[in-house]
Symmetry: C2
DNA sequence: AAAGTTACCAAACGATTGTTCACCAACTTA
DNA sequence: TAAGTTGGTGAACAATCGTTTGGTAACTTT
């Protein structure tokens, strides 16, 4: 048999068409090459996208990759074949939308970065706009929550630093965009008369770097990593930058 | 031919015994499976260790693994076969000293953690013992330098958090040992009358987490990551915890 | 000199992976 | 109805990997 589980009936093969979603074993090489396999839910047997809607598969692939990254811990489990298995398509189909495995993870990374930004902005907006400190704290909390809820994604996003930033110019990239959110937040604090011990830019970097360090360093430490303790750590951190 | 390049003449194979160190291609799957191979210097054709000195190979294997981790960027390049190639031995020989690939990376991780601790302690001791703040700063700088000089090792050490710390008990593990070094340093500051805004324990965690975050987050960003800017960032960080 | 131990290796096994190429089915257009 | 385009497969290729098994050469003890 080939690589696909959900076929849809190519080349005259008799198949149990229709029926409930199946399960596919997604394996990870570990230990003595006896395969430790984790089962990952597979979408119901695919029905072809309609004419002109071929681009939808791109989204489905990204979603599948995202799920795979959630369910497996390491980003080395993020393989073309694994993604195809979860998406219920043939590995070859991925190449219509991503030239490479690298392109796939790049696409996924970008996708997740906008998720993070959106989450942070939304969290900030949920706070009364008069509470300038609360807003920046909420954004930081949101980023921590994102990291803790999606450790795999977060590792993928932060493991490979910003793409080769040029020598003298101001660095760009998704990470910087995220930090800029915080810079704006701290700037609002300063504008509102809240005294800072450092510039808003420094404060933003310090706060984000601290939050990242805390989350990344103790990521899979059982206790000592409950959400509350992380959040209060971050708050302590934030309080340090204020005079 | 098998897997080995430096043999030493088993099973009657005529081999150019002696001669200069060779090179082995260490490949990494990347892109379109056309193999991008990086050359890694290989130790000269091995001569068997003498009787009773079989344990020496363990050290050589760790050294080879360490070098491999330096030269390749990802820790997924740390394969049994790759290590064997660099060490100039047969892959099977590794199993005399490490039961598993997992055992290998565990051994390497531990090995590198003691290197880090030693480096931090040495850096601290190089500072006049009256300069309590300078000592803790020096230790932090040493840890940053270690991380920047050996990004691969550092990632390996920090990527997999401390081994499942029990629910209520004080967490242990190599990372905690490292932090304890800083706790002692900050405690000395407090004892010497330097005012802290937080407890020595908090200060240590804050400082280390901050340093880790800064280094890990911008690890391969070309500029903005020169040693000086990292060190001054860390100093700024440290100054925040002092009153 | 014979037996035993140590240090190490070659070759194979069974699994994985990324990627390509030829192909088919369904739908739309001419 | 015939041709063309889109959406997607299947099967293979070439490489990798971890691990096991059965050795063998060199050295040491008896």
């Amino acid at each position: 048999m080939g690589d696909t589980f959900a076929s849809g009936g190519a080349s005259g093969l008799a198949r149990s068409k229709g029926g409930s979603p199946g399960r596919a074993a997604v394996g990870r090489l570990s230990g003595k090459n006896r395969y430790v396999s984790k089962e990952v839910q597979v979408s119901a047997p695919r029905t072809r996208n309609r004419w002109g809607e071929g681009e939808r598969l791109r989204g489905e692939i990204l979603a599948a990759a995202s799920r795979l990254l959630s369910e497996l811990d390491g980003e080395d489990g993020l393989t073309i074949r694994g993604v195809a298995r979860v998406a219920g398509i043939a590995p070859a189909s991925i190449y219509q939308h991503f030239t490479d495995r690298a392109a796939l993870v790049a696409g996924l990374t970008e996708h997740e970065f906008v998720r993070l930004r959106v989450a942070m902005e939304a969290a900030g907006d949920r706070v009364d706009s008069g509470d300038v400190v609360g807003r920046v704290r909420a954004m930081l909390h949101a980023s921590c929550r994102f990291a803790m809820d999606n450790p795999g994604h977060y590792r993928l996003m932060t493991a490979n630093g910003p793409p080769g930033t040029a020598p003298g110019v101001r660095p760009a990239g998704p990470l910087v965009d995220v930090i800029d959110l915080l810079v704006a937040g701290f700037a609002r604090c300063a504008a509102a008369g809240v005294a800072l011990r450092v510039s808003p830019e420094r404060a933003a970097v310090i706060a984000f770097v601290g939050a990242h360090g805390r989350v990344a360093l103790f990521q899979d430490s059982a206790k000592h990593n409950d959400a509350d303790s992380v959040m209060s750590f971050v708050d302590e951190f934030v309080s340090l930058v204020f005079a």
